[in-house]
């Protein structure tokens, strides 16, 4: 993306939401645990293609990449992930209820 044409820089700042901080912590801790590293994070991010930059937020791309990395390294299976996600959705309608 370096050198590509782009618009004006937006100086808006938002506070990080709890779920975003947890994603950040998940990268640090899964890296310390030897399950992934910055390069493997980036490899999946780059595989997502440009469209992901338009449609997903920063930490949405990160959790997607971390999840993909965990499956590839065998930390959990796609079945376990799917089952877990269904259970979480059934807990409630907001992040606070479900987490």
């Amino acid at each position: 993306m370096g050198g590509d044409p782009a618009g004006k820089i937006d100086h808006e700042q938002h506070d990080f939401a709890l779920w975003e901080k947890r994603v950040d912590a998940l990268l640090v801790l899964s890296s310390s645990a030897g399950l992934m590293n910055t390069d493997s994070l980036r490899r999946v991010l780059e595989d997502m293609g440009e469209e992901a930059y338009e449609k997903m937020s920063y930490y949405e791309r990160w959790i997607s990449s971390i999840c993909q990395n965990m499956i590839e390294v065998g930390a959990f299976s796609t079945e376990e992930l799917a089952t877990k996600m269904e259970i979480i959705k059934s807990r409630g309608a907001t992040y606070g209820d479900a987490s």
Binding site: G2, A6, D10, D15, W19, L29, I66, K89, G92
Partner: protein
């Protein structure tokens, strides 16, 4: 009870990101799932997550400012910082992990700016998490091709005789800018000077300024 319906602001005065008060998103479900599975499998613990968030929240540009203020007042330290910024930072008690850190000195003739065109590499151990604009497509794309125009959007105009150097960070190599010390701040103590050193001045998109 009366209830005001102003735009909600966080304790620090920033608006909450729009999706914070909406229904549980797919990606939030994924975050919870990944976290819980890693905990259940014994790879990480819930305490570690909380500790990591606390550590992250405690980091702020005040750390970098202390480093720069010391460099401004102690020539031997500045030399050590430029020689090996990682070791000099560790010697001051900052945990900067295994990353390589390079300190870039701004002078009368050279102004340094940092960017990460690949993603968002940033000296977060010394400055906290990067600002949103640092991670934006606009900054990452343009900083390397039209730095003077980008700097002008931050309110900085440099004489053409001043060389602008843009440094592209990587996962293993991070940079921090040692801003050029303003003449008006000469003679102040290290603690006083630290108040002049802003986050943006250590990224290279701002200049040190007298505390308000």
């Amino acid at each position: 009870m009366p209830h005001d319906h102003h735009e909600p602001l966080s304790p620090s005065g920033h608006p909450y990101r729009a999706d914070d008060d909406k229904d549980l998103s797919y990606w939030q479900v994924m975050e919870i799932a990944v976290r819980e599975l890693l905990i259940e499998k014994g790879h990480i613990s819930a305490t570690q997550i909380q500790d990591q968030i606390n550590t992250m929240d405690a980091r702020s540009p005040a750390n970098g400012a202390r480093l720069v203020a010391k460099a401004w007042t102690d020539p031997a330290f500045k030399y050590a910082l430029i020689e090996d910024a990682g070791q000099a930072s560790r010697n001051m008690g900052f945990d900067i992990g295994p990353m390589h850190l390079i300190a870039l000195e701004n002078t009368e003739k050279v102004h340094n700016v940092i960017v990460c065109t690949l993603c968002s590499c940033y000296p977060r151990n010394l400055l906290g998490l990067p600002p949103d604009w640092y991670k934006s497509r606009a900054y990452r794309s343009r900083a390397v091709v039209e730095p003077r125009k980008v700097l002008s959007e931050f309110g900085l105009e440099f004489n053409q005789k001043i060389q602008i150097r843009v440094h592209d960070s990587t996962a293993d190599m991070r940079y921090i800018v040692i801003p050029y010390q303003p003449a008006e701040s000469e003679g102040l103590s290290e603690a006083e000077l630290a108040k002049w050193i802003t986050r943006d001045s250590m990224i290279g998109v701002g200049l040190p300024r007298a505390p308000a």
